[in-house]
């Protein structure tokens, strides 16, 4: 087969990744409802991982804060789309504008993503000056602050009580639509000049700065896009479960999303998608193991919680033996024939 022309080659990773995600969704649509729901949840995680990748992959700074943006998205969309009657029961002290709002789903989702993006712009502007490990700890601070604020701002978020009665419009196809959008946004962004400059600063901050790269500006751009996508993932998670709990947007979810990105490979979009898919499949298998299977008359089941232990162990092994993850920092390439560049 003849090697394709240059623009086609350049778009190949995007096309291949979209094809993979679409095929997974289509196959899942023929499976029982339980498996469909699991696939939907897996795709939501995929969006979150792609969102995290946009910042971590391009800037090289590990972020522990993206789950905070997921929480922001989830709460904003929940408050805007829930029925006013439901809100008056759970949150009697809401400001009138929010209490009477009943936005359509898409508007609520976009609002959730945009609020997350605006918050990331405000907190990122000072914090993106930091580098390396200090920057990671600063993003961790974002996570803790968000957790404490959402957990105690009882008038607006319900505090430690869950926010219930969200419209559950999220199904396999809505999630697939957003997953496609997320992958396209991440890919188009990483092909821009801004992302290229940011990756240069990731490889060698001093040299990039000496060559005139405004690291702060480009990091901030990546951070805002990343926060928007994370916000969307949070919106979808909220409307998928129909319930928003502050506990579900904290360390466990952070660990899961970070683990997916690291295992897949934080250096490429392919890695982000691969990590999300591999871990989703693995988690599902482990879950089956915990439920147990029939062997003759006895049911053999793994103890509950084993899945988490194995996930952590795999992450550890990947870091030790393949620190760049499954994808190793590369994108998918055109598989048929090579032309010397």
């Amino acid at each position: 087969m003849a090697p394709p022309a240059a623009p086609w080659r350049r778009l190949w990773p995007l096309i291949a990744l979209l094809a993979i995600v679409i095929v997974i969704a289509v196959i899942a649509s023929f499976t029982p409802a339980v498996l469909q729901r699991r696939t939907t949840q897996g795709l939501i995680n995929l969006i979150a991982v792609v969102g995290l990748y946009v910042f971590v992959g391009n800037s090289g700074v590990l972020s522990f804060g993206n789950v905070a943006f997921m929480a922001i998205g989830a709460y904003v969309s929940a408050l805007l789309t829930m029925k006013p009657t439901a809100k008056s029961v759970f949150l009697p002290d809401l400001p009138a504008i929010i209490a009477h709002a009943e936005w359509p789903a898409l508007a609520g989702a976009l609002a959730g993503g945009c609020v997350a993006a605006v918050v990331s712009l405000v907190v990122g502007w000072p914090l993106m000056r930091l580098s390396g490990v200090s920057a990671s700890i600063a993003t961790f601070a974002i996570l803790v602050v968000a957790y404490v604020v959402f957990g105690n701002w009882t008038a607006v978020t319900g505090g430690q009580n869950s926010l219930m009665g969200l419209p559950t419009y999220v199904d396999l196809w809505t999630t697939l639509g957003w997953a496609i959008a997320a992958i396209v946004i991440a890919f188009v962004y990483q092909e821009t000049r801004s992302a290229l400059l940011l990756r240069a600063s990731r490889e060698d901050p001093a040299a990039a700065q000496a060559a005139g790269v405004n690291i702060l500006l480009h990091r901030l751009i990546a951070f805002v896009i990343s926060a928007f996508l994370s916000g969307i993932a949070g919106v979808l998670l909220g409307h998928f479960l129909g319930i928003v709990r502050v506990e579900s947007f904290y360390l466990d979810l952070t660990f899961l999303i970070v683990a997916m990105l690291i295992i897949g490979g934080r250096g490429s979009l392919t890695g982000a998608v691969a990590g999300a898919i591999v871990i989703a499949v693995l988690t599902e298998l482990l879950r089956q193991l915990e439920i147990g299977f029939q062997l003759g008359h006895a049911t053999i089941a793994a103890p509950p919680g084993l899945g988490d232990v194995i996930l952590a162990l795999i992450m550890l092994i990947i870091i030790l033996f393949r620190p760049n993850g499954i994808a190793g920092g590369r994108e998918l390439t055109w598989p048929f024939g090579h032309r010397s560049a």
């Binding site: 803790v144 996930l311 550890l316």
Partner: protein, 294 residues
Amino acid sequence: MKEFVQILADAVSVGSLYALTALGIGLIFGVMRLINFAHGELITFAAYTLLALSGLPPPVMLLGALSVAIVLALLTERAAFRPLRNADPSTLLISSFAVSFFLQKLLILLVGSRLKGLNFLPGLGRQVELSGVRLQLLQIVTVSVSVILLVGLTWFLRATRLGLQMRGAAEDFRMARVLGVRANRVIATAFALSGVLAATVSCLIVIQSGVVQPRMGLQLVIIAFVGTVIGGLGSLPGAALGGFIVGAGAILLQALLPPDMRAFREAFVFIAVALVLLLRPQGLIPAVGLRERI
């Protein structure tokens, strides 16, 4: 006035607990540039050792907790951090994050995630009266133990050969190796010391709260991180000072904030971190030789 002194005593004793925790993290960061999330699990495992040994004489329990924390610290170093010694700090950070979750989930798998009561050395809960002010005996013990450990650690770092090597390694690891410092021994010593600090913190926390729970260490360590960052990553006096400020600050905020703002005190603490990072990115007491030269 009396009330104020009591709040102050509270602040000082909690502050010294966090200072010890931050010191354990700072010690490892100094020699390895590793932010050790897994330090929290050392504390948790030591606490569960106390639970497992409860009923035996207290010195045996203490010894058990101490040895478990030290062995676990050395094991994590050997298995997860030594192979990555030449990797960049963010890889090390991820590795410690994974170790921390692995140990925590393992513990939940083994003993369940429920809170368990543990009545360890209840005699220390007694009130004592010192010139008109009522203090808990435990507060006095906490502060004295912290001071003893701080003095001991300082003595070790200043006066012994291994301590000198450790300070050298913290300043310029490669140069220290060239001059004949044994990297493995220095790093293992640092991890063992962090195990001692973790076990001490663990015992004091268990006496104070009377419960153990798989998440207890992580919660402590998250706050203590903030201390090490505020104090200056890589600087031991900085870690101790930063940890103390954060712990004492949280207690003072709790006492001084209006009641409906109290729940947000951790948010204030973390906002303070972000501010310190911005105004003094190297921390209050900057470490020597941390900045990469080009």
